[in-house]
């Protein structure tokens, strides 16, 4: 029975790790709370000082048309003071209130001070979502607004869980401003714990 169970668990693990899906490449960690700003037709707003991660092939914001049933038309621009315009593309809207704009070619270098702008190219107003905060720095019509927009970055293509491991390894280190040892230490410790436990249980069962 344990062998069958082990095989089932391994197959389940393999299935989970092989599944390809969109995975975050970066985020400004702004909670998606509520629509925070309306954008009239022809208006553009910009959010500076954004984290833009290397390898990103798509940027996502959250937006909804103020008149239900219409499809917003937007132009998303990503730029950086030194790198210039990195991407300028129409935002692809989906029914879940998201706009995705492609970045082609993908971002080469991580920047912590990129600027993301959205222009409303449709006929009706739209509302962008994020957080109301006094630390916000969104600029609209020359005015600074006390809001932050949720901005997410994704790789160009969906990735499998296994492929994602390569991205995870350095992140575990960066999270504690340390080196890549962190991931390997944690992985070895966990695998050792599990290996010792299974070996001990099997040995006791055979006694």
């Amino acid at each position: 029975m344990p062998i069958v169970l082990a095989l089932v668990l391994l197959v389940a693990l393999g299935t989970v790790l092989a599944r390809s899906e969109p995975r975050l490449n970066g985020t400004n960690s702004v909670p998606l709370r509520t629509p925070v700003v309306g954008l009239r037709s022809g208006e553009q707003l910009c959010q500076p000082q954004q984290l833009m991660t290397a390898g990103s092939g798509r940027v996502r914001l959250f937006l909804a048309p103020e008149q239900p049933g219409t499809t917003p038309k937007t132009l998303v621009t990503v730029r950086h003071e030194r790198d210039g315009v990195i991407a300028r593309a129409p935002g692809r809207y989906d029914d879940e209130g998201r706009i995705d704009a492609p970045i082609d070619p993908p971002v080469r270098r991580t920047r912590v001070d990129a600027e993301v702008c959205v222009r409303n190219q449709g006929d009706g107003p739209v509302a962008l979502s994020g957080l109301l905060t006094p630390y916000g720095n969104v600029m609209l019509n020359g005015k600074k607004l006390e809001i932050s927009l949720t901005v997410l970055w994704f790789p160009k293509d969906d990735t499998s869980g296994l492929a994602q491991t390569a991205a995870v390894i350095p992140r575990v280190g960066h999270a504690r401003i340390g080196g890549g040892w962190a991931f390997w230490f944690a992985a070895l410790a966990a695998l050792a714990a599990m290996g010792i436990a299974l070996t001990a249980a099997i040995r006791e069962a055979r006694r």
């Binding site: 970066g26 909670p31 912590v112 995870v168 999270a175 962190a182 714990a193 001990a200 249980a201 099997i202």
Partner: protein, 485 residues
């Protein structure tokens, strides 16, 4: 004995893995516990009730720098992922920030110091080696992981006392405790629940040992010290002390295999070992630290403004219905204190695996499977106990003490939880508050496995450990998805 050490090693390694895997300060209340250790390490003093503003400048910079509040409860929040972000925080931390907090309450102003004092050692060692605040946090977490190893060690030898002839069962019981992802997650962060779990596991062991050997001087000293350690590690540990006293009294009334005089001497040793550390703590509190023994408001933060309660909800009847719902289904006439059924939706759900600040965990179907697993163990264990009821009857005083240990803890928790619920309007209880009962969780597993008999039991034990490995691995994958993917 080798198997016991292996179980303890599994507990430590697993908690150590979680300690490094969990992003900084992404564990319940970790910032205030870090504040306590840092204040104690830097000043030699403990925080005391008073102004709420507390943390050191250094810790505040760390908290903001690692995006703690941006991540908690925010599905799109992530820790530092990139070298430029990490470098920016490093430069900020290198700018000579003050590591001394203000010594105010922060919700831990009345907490006893044993656990925090133990973590001063890794804090100081890493400071001396030139580590930054995040290195110190990792070191403190690894120090805390040692408590996980200690807990599993005591749980395993407790189970060995319970089931000496079912080696595979007590080993599996210890291993399952060591692999519990929720326990590893909490014990792998800075949190006194790890410390009180170790002290309580030791207490369970010494109670079991005392009922085998009588109150010999060594066992009596262990019993007393474990009771004192529980009370001086976390306030909830006080709930275990009456049962420890009950054990000593019962062992004097039925002193075999010792003479009554020897048992009385043992009780005196146990009382002295329990009392001396507490008296020293009280004396320090009254003279050096100038702080009260107990918090005025349960030590759980400031009360909320207004809580709407139904008539009679704040009453003796209200409290009784509250306690009832800790373990039993709500009856029609009772107030609705908890969301869902507490044993399942509160206790089992979190013990199966709840991570971060409670904002990630296993899906409902996994909790349901864990529920089935518990029921199977209960049935198998219940059957085994029923078939050996004559022997169990002879051990009723011992069983009574285990029940009293659990009951004392639950009564104390319910008293604080009821006060919190009727004052703040929110639920106080969290699964980790039951870590002092880890020995009983291990007993459920071991006795349940023993119930499968000598033919099927060993296979069931391997299956059980394999499931525990899968749960632990699943927990690590959840953490990977939540914070790093």
């Amino acid at each position: 004995m080798r198997a016991v050490w292996l179980c303890a090693l599994v507990g430590f390694l697993n908690a150590a893995a979680w300690a490094v895997w969990t992003p900084p300060l992404q564990s319940p209340d970790e910032p205030v516990h870090v504040y306590y250790v840092q204040y104690l390490a830097e000043t030699g003093k403990v925080p005391r009730p008073g102004p709420v503003k507390t943390k050191s400048e250094e810790e505040q910079v760390v908290e903001a720098g690692v995006h703690r509040t941006d991540i908690v409860g925010n599905f799109y929040g992530r820790p530092l992922w990139t070298p430029p972000e990490a470098q920016a925080l490093r430069e900020r931390l290198d700018s000579g920030l003050n590591p001394v907090g203000s010594g105010g309450d922060a919700g831990v102003g009345s907490y006893p110091p044993v656990y925090y004092a133990a973590l001063v050692v890794p804090y100081k060692v890493v400071s001396a080696l030139g580590g930054d605040p995040l290195d110190r946090l990792t070191a403190m977490r690894l120090g805390s992981a040692l408590f996980a190893g200690l807990t599993v060690l005591f749980v395993t030898i407790f189970l060995r006392e319970l089931l000496p002839r079912h080696r595979w069962a007590w080993v599996a019981g210890g291993l399952v405790c060591g692999l519990l992802p929720y326990f590893a997650f909490i014990a792998g962060s800075v949190n006194p629940d790890a410390g009180v779990a170790a002290a309580a596991a030791a207490l369970f062991y010494f109670v079991a040992r005392a009922f085998r050997t009588g109150l010999t001087p060594g066992v009596a000293a262990g019993l007393g010290l474990a009771a004192a350690a529980a009370a001086l590690t976390k306030l909830s540990g006080i709930g275990l002390v009456p049962a420890a006293a009950l054990a000593a009294v019962l062992l004097v009334l039925r002193p075999a295999p010792l003479e009554r005089a020897a048992a009385l001497r043992g009780m005196a040793i146990a009382a002295a070992c329990a009392a001396v550390p507490v008296i020293v703590y009280l004396a320090l509190g009254a003279t050096v630290w100038d702080r009260p023994l107990l918090p005025s408001s349960g030590g759980v933060g400031p009360p909320g403004a207004k809580v709407e309660l139904r008539p009679g909800q704040r009453s003796a009847q209200g409290y009784l219905t509250f306690v009832w719902q800790y373990g039993l289904p709500r009856l029609g006439f009772m107030f609705d204190w908890f969301r869902g059924w507490a044993p399942y939706d509160l206790w089992l759900s979190s013990w199966t695996g709840r991570f971060g600040w409670g904002d990630s965990g296993f899906k409902r179907w996994v909790v349901a499977c864990a529920g089935v697993f518990v029921v199977v163990l209960l049935v198998a264990g219940g059957g085994a106990l029923w078939s050996r009821r004559d022997r169990l009857r002879a051990r009723l005083p011992e069983v009574l003490v285990y029940a009293a240990l659990a009951g004392g803890l639950l009564l104390l928790l319910s008293w604080v939880g009821y006060g919190y619920r009727t004052t703040n309007g929110s639920t106080f209880e969290q699964g980790r508050y039951l870590f002092p009962l880890m020995a009983l969780w291990g007993a459920l597993v071991a006795v349940g496995l023993a119930g499968f008999g000598r033919r099927f039991g060993p296979v069931a034990a391997v299956t059980c450990v394999l499931l525990a490995v899968a749960l632990d691995f699943g927990g690590l994958l959840i953490m990977m998805g939540r914070y790093y993917s």
